[in-house]
């Protein structure tokens, strides 16, 4: 496995209106493997969105380095190449759709890259089918639900044929149905080989990733596989993060004297363990 993203001693400062600086990210380092699904989880103000914008050079580090596929985000010459390789999907589904017709919006990225019209059409069809929205290609965004709009935004990212997509809290404004739709799409894209970085504050979403980074006050507090993270519910609670229901239940059952393995993440595993031990 090779690292697609390398974040090395990243520091980022915000300058407030009154001139004082606030340290949003304080010296963090991590790597994201090619083709992996990484979740970055933390409270508001933990620096997770700032981190996301540092990955594709929408923000630049105060010190330290961010390498995307070996390219340094601080190098102006590789700016557009980095943005082509790392696409981004934002929180508010309404505020990132440029065009009043779905397929035209999906084409926006490739058009900016100067791709041949025939190739754009192919990519738009592919991207819309990847998010299962082909039948809506001629619709206006305001006729769609929140989850559907967010899937269009994802299609817009896919059409740029990126190696990696960074999702900056894509489900925060959606209802449970929309959240489910978006998460399914993310998982499917990951299976097709796209490196996915999901910024979220929902623990049950992080549980679906294969690598979880917990951020708090601009620092990495935990870093590992979901099972490793969930094994320490006290630590998570201290950081005011939820524990997935199955993990919580396993914890409560252990307190009641039931012997369960340490690495339970989901309900299915819990059911399997309990009904086997019976």
């Amino acid at each position: 496995m090779t690292a697609f993203l390398e974040v090395q001693n990243l520091v980022f400062d915000y300058i407030k209106q009154d001139g004082t600086t606030v340290r949003a990210i304080n010296n963090i380092s991590f790597e994201v493997e090619q083709g992996s699904f990484t979740a970055i989880i933390g409270q508001n103000g933990s620096g997770k969105s700032t981190l996301a914008k540092n990955i594709n050079a929408l923000l630049l580090p105060a010190s330290g380095r961010v390498l995307v596929d070996g390219l340094d985000t601080a190098d102006p010459a590789s700016l557009w190449e980095i943005r082509r390789r790392v696409a981004m999907v934002f929180q508010n589904p309404d505020n990132q759709i440029v065009s009043s017709i779905v397929e035209d919006d999906v084409a926006f990225g490739p058009e900016n890259l100067g791709i041949d019209p025939d190739e754009i059409r192919r990519r738009v069809s592919f991207a819309l089918s990847a998010v299962e929205m082909e039948e809506y290609r001629k619709k206006a965004p305001h006729q769609l639900s929140g989850g559907q709009k967010q899937r269009i935004a994802i299609a817009g990212a896919v059409a740029m044929q990126p190696a990696c997509i960074v999702f900056d809290e894509p489900t925060a404004m959606l209802d449970p149905r929309g959240r489910g739709e978006v998460l399914d799409v993310i998982e499917r894209l990951n299976e097709q080989g796209i490196t996915c970085v999901l910024i979220t504050h929902f623990m049950e979403e992080a549980a679906r990733a294969d690598h979880v980074i917990v951020l708090d006050e601009g620092e990495i507090k935990m870093d590992g596989q979901p099972a490793e993270i969930f094994r320490r519910p006290e630590k998570l609670r201290e950081l005011s993060l939820d524990v997935p229901p199955a993990v919580q239940m396993a914890h409560l059952l252990r307190q009641r004297g039931i012997d369960l393995p340490e690495d339970i993440n989901g309900t299915e595993e819990l059911v399997r363990c309990l009904c086997r031990s019976q």
């Binding site: 914008k53 594709n56 929408l58 557009w80 943005r83 082509r84 696409a87 981004m88 934002f90 508010n92 309404d94 505020n95 990132q96 759709i97 440029v98 065009s99 009043s100 017709i101 397929e103 035209d104 084409a107 926006f108 990225g109 490739p110 058009e111 900016n112 890259l113 100067g114 791709i115 041949d116 019209p117 754009i120 059409r121 738009v124 001629k138 619709k139 206006a140 965004p141 305001h142 935004a153 817009g156 990212a157 740029m160």
Partner: protein, 266 residues
């Protein structure tokens, strides 16, 4: 209520009119409007109406949908009619108190009414049959000769695209904010003009904040999608002047000629 607005809306369907080059459609719409003001008798209007009718049939846009677009401008039409009926001097037909209805007034009102209706239907056909993006692409292409004089044709077109995209969003937002302030006891319907103007502050401030937030988010999202990369932009839908367009142009020129001849000969 907000969902009812069709003025400036696009109607999705497959038709010859939809497929025409947007540049041709924009220019012909402009010429058609000029022609409407050139016409000076009912036969001329009949010809214009016939032309319009042909386009409506070919466009496959339901009449109901077109007429709905007329509703918001109904007041303007009614106002024009009244002004023309009562304010035109001439042979008096009816006299009510100090107002006269004259023969010339009636004729003038009928002229203006027909002209307005034909104008509005004609121009809404342009937006109904041309996707917003093609429309702005068309405008960009038509304006591009002026680029050498420093006219930012592409930027203007982009602004229009974004405006068209966010009109429904902002209308929805306005509706939401109005209701929220009403729930806090705000009253937009009564009181003096000054009071009513002041009552708009609690709507306008949140609305502006919203608009700025959208602008900020959108700018970031566009940048992330490589807008402004300096690479030559391409288009998924290229505009091409095809043989159909040439045919349509010939028909349209004949149509214009008939209108001119009618004015000169009758």
């Amino acid at each position: 209520m907000i969902r009812d607005i069709t003025l400036g809306q696009y109607y999705q369907t497959e038709s010859v009119i939809h497929r025409l080059d947007p540049r041709f459609k924009i220019i012909s719409t402009l010429l058609y409007i000029v022609a409407l003001f050139f016409i000076d008798d009912f036969i001329g209007f009949a010809i214009a109406w016939l032309g319009l009718e042909t386009v409506i049939c070919l466009s496959k846009v339901p009449r109901r949908f077109i007429l709905k677009g007329l509703r918001p401008v109904f007041l303007i039409i009614a106002f024009t009619l009244i002004i023309n009926i009562f304010m035109t001097q001439g042979q008096v037909l009816v006299e009510i108190w100090r107002f006269h209805i004259t023969k010339e007034g009636l004729q003038m009102a009928a002229f203006m009414g027909i002209r307005l209706v034909l104008l509005i239907i004609g121009s809404s056909l342009l937006t109904l049959t041309t996707r917003p993006i093609s429309l702005t692409d068309g405008i960009e292409s038509l304006l591009s000769p002026f680029k050498r004089f420093g006219l930012p044709a592409h930027e203007l077109a982009m602004m229009m695209t974004i405006a068209l995209r966010f009109i429904p969003t902002l209308l929805e937002e306005t509706d939401k904010i109005m209701k929220a302030q009403q729930a806090r006891g705000a009253d937009f319907e009564s009181g003096s003009l000054l009071r009513r103007a002041k009552a708009l502050v609690p709507i306008l401030v949140p609305l502006f904040i919203s608009a700025f937030r959208i602008a900020q988010d959108l700018a970031m999202a566009m940048e992330a999608r490589c807008y402004g990369s300096g690479l030559p932009r391409t288009r998924m839908h290229e505009i091409r002047f095809t043989r159909t367009d040439a045919g349509a142009a010939v028909v349209f020129v004949i149509f214009l000629a008939v209108i001119v001849l009618e004015r000169l000969l009758w």
